[in-house]
């Protein structure tokens, strides 16, 4: 099976936020939650770069390790998903995540966290693939339809790549060699303990 990953080519990202919008629209993500976001580093200075970031679907995911109810699981495609049936909204995955991916809808004015929500790599959740219940809880399941995550598919400059690790690493490597520069595979070292050697 494939080892699915995201790769944001910061030298191509133009901070158009289409990935953020596509994600929110595709999955009907509730108010106040952004499964994907675009961060601009060194804004207005030489060397400014924008990076689109979401759950990186880590190898040996910290969220899964600290979850008190074991609600996380890793699919055969190495996508890290979670069950909102089991999630108790304790906040531990948020403390552990290096990418700020887990978010919680506020279910009451008393500060109670709701069920955690995060990027599913457009792969739904533990409910039946493509079911209405799955859509309501986790959003669209594009992977089950043989499609890649919409954020990457929508990307106007093809900065955001989604797909099998080897395949997107090869594409990125070719780009870097051809243009002669690249600011690296953002988050890979943190998420996968490896990066792309050029």
């Amino acid at each position: 099976m494939a080892r699915m990953k995201f790769l944001c080519d910061a030298d191509r990202c133009i901070e158009c936020n289409a990935c953020v919008t596509a994600c929110k629209n595709e999955h009907d993500v509730p108010w106040g939650i952004n499964r994907r976001r675009v961060v601009t580093l060194n804004d207005g200075k030489p060397g400014e770069r924008s990076i689109s970031m979401a759950c990186m679907h880590c190898t040996d995911a910290p969220c899964a390790a600290v979850c008190p109810v074991n609600c996380f699981y890793t699919t055969a495609d190495a996508v890290v998903l979670h069950s909102k049936e089991l999630c108790i909204g304790c906040g531990y995955c948020f403390y552990a995540c290096p990418f700020g991916a887990p978010q919680y809808p506020r279910v009451s004015n008393f500060g109670t966290r709701g069920k955690m929500d995060k990027c599913t790599y457009c792969a739904g959740g533990p409910l039946a693939d493509g079911s209405a219940a799955e859509y309501a809880s986790y959003g669209a399941n594009r992977l089950a339809e043989g499609k890649l995550p919409l954020c990457a598919e929508m990307c106007s400059t093809k900065a955001l790549l989604a797909g099998d690790s080897d395949m997107i690493a090869t594409i990125y490597k070719e780009r870097v060699l051809k243009r002669g520069y690249g600011s690296g595979a953002w988050g890979w070292q943190t998420a996968y303990k490896e990066t792309i050697a050029i």
Binding site: T40, L41, P62, P68, E85, Y95, G100, G111, G184
Partner: protein, 339 residues
């Protein structure tokens, strides 16, 4: 003349254009390297790691979402918190709680139950008023549920999940979380009441020094004099006030993350909450032991509030002397003479 002026202007314009073009031309050599000024993840992380203590290794930038914390791109410190929570926290909790249980079993086997040496007198004296007992049990009842639901978050998946199955365990944990979040408030109220009611009796004084020197009656059979609270009880009081205060502070931050100021603060408060909690649980296990099976007559103080006069004389001699002067002794209707 006119013609030559125009040609002069034209020549000047061409010269200016060339002058401007030369440096522009020079800026486009084939060896340009845009990466030289581009931000590199590894460089940024290394730079952060090297300097600015307190900032950690958070990579952050500008974001259009109206949530400043979403501007944090990468913050690998979560991995350190994970290592603590899945490693040291388990050990600290297990050693503190199981260690205290082992200590108490050993103490019970060597010292046995601490009996009223003079036996029950039959006469009683009011030790705790209804209000005092109410705030004790308000805080204690909340604490027991808070402790169990808190331990469940750290240890439940190893101990209870295999017994109940994932679904039942998750449903139970959900209710435990609600209980934890909501009972925190009456617990904090109880802390405030206990502090106000009992602080005057818990200020350290010279009797405590003597009490500690003589081992508090825990070792040996001598009963050093004590006022309403002996030094051991004062330690319990201040453990509850300070420990409970830290648990409240850290708990409120964890409950309202926006007040804590970022994920690094939440990791810190979670560590404080966890360590203080297991230490206070260990202290409360000892408190429950000595208030129940560990000592004859002690439990009366928090049930009926009326303790046996002989028990009071042995454990709180100075307090009894003070009370005797006020005539607070309640002889039983069917008083038995002390044997």
């Amino acid at each position: 003349m006119r013609f030559s002026l125009r040609s002069l202007v034209a020549t000047f314009a061409v010269a200016m254009a060339l002058f401007a073009a030369v440096p522009a031309f020079a800026q486009q050599p084939s060896s340009v390297n845009p990466t030289a000024s581009a931000v590199q993840e590894r460089q940024l992380l290394d730079a952060l790691r090297a300097g600015t203590p307190g900032q950690g290794t958070t990579l952050s930038g500008r974001i259009t979402i109206p949530d400043a914390s979403a501007g944090n791109l990468i913050q690998p410190q979560g991995q350190a918190w994970r290592v603590f929570h899945q490693g040291a926290m388990h050990w600290i909790g297990a050693i503190a709680i199981l260690g205290m249980l082992v200590l108490l079993v050993v103490f019970y086997m060597t010292r046995g139950r601490i009996m009223i040496e003079a036996g029950r007198s039959g006469a009683t004296i009011l030790r705790f008023s209804t209000f005092e007992r109410f705030i004790h049990w308000l805080t204690a009842g909340c604490f027991i549920i808070l402790a169990l639901s808190g331990l469940n978050v750290t240890f439940g998946k190893f101990v209870l999940a295999p017994l109940f199955g994932e679904d039942a365990f998750a449903a139970m944990s959900q209710w435990a979380k609600y209980a934890h979040n909501f009972l925190a408030w009456p617990f904090m109220l109880g802390l405030v009441f206990m502090f106000v009611t009992w602080v005057v009796h818990n200020l350290p004084d010279s009797t405590d020094v003597n009490w500690i020197k003589k081992g508090g009656g825990l070792v040996g059979s001598e009963h050093p004099p004590a006022k309403k609270f002996n030094a051991g009880q004062k330690v319990i009081f201040w453990s509850v006030i300070i420990g409970g205060g830290l648990l409240s502070l850290s708990g409120v931050y964890l409950l309202f993350p926006e007040w804590a100021g970022g994920v690094l603060a939440l990791q810190f408060w979670n560590i404080i909450h966890g360590i203080v909690a297991v230490l206070l649980i260990a202290a409360m296990i000892a408190h429950i032991y000595i208030g129940s099976i560990g000592m004859e007559g002690a439990a009366d103080a928090m049930t009926s509030g009326e303790v046996d006069l002989n028990w009071a004389k042995e454990h709180h001699s100075l307090w009894v002397e003070e009370k005797m002067g006020k005539g607070s002794i309640h002889p039983h209707a069917a008083a038995q003479p002390a044997e």
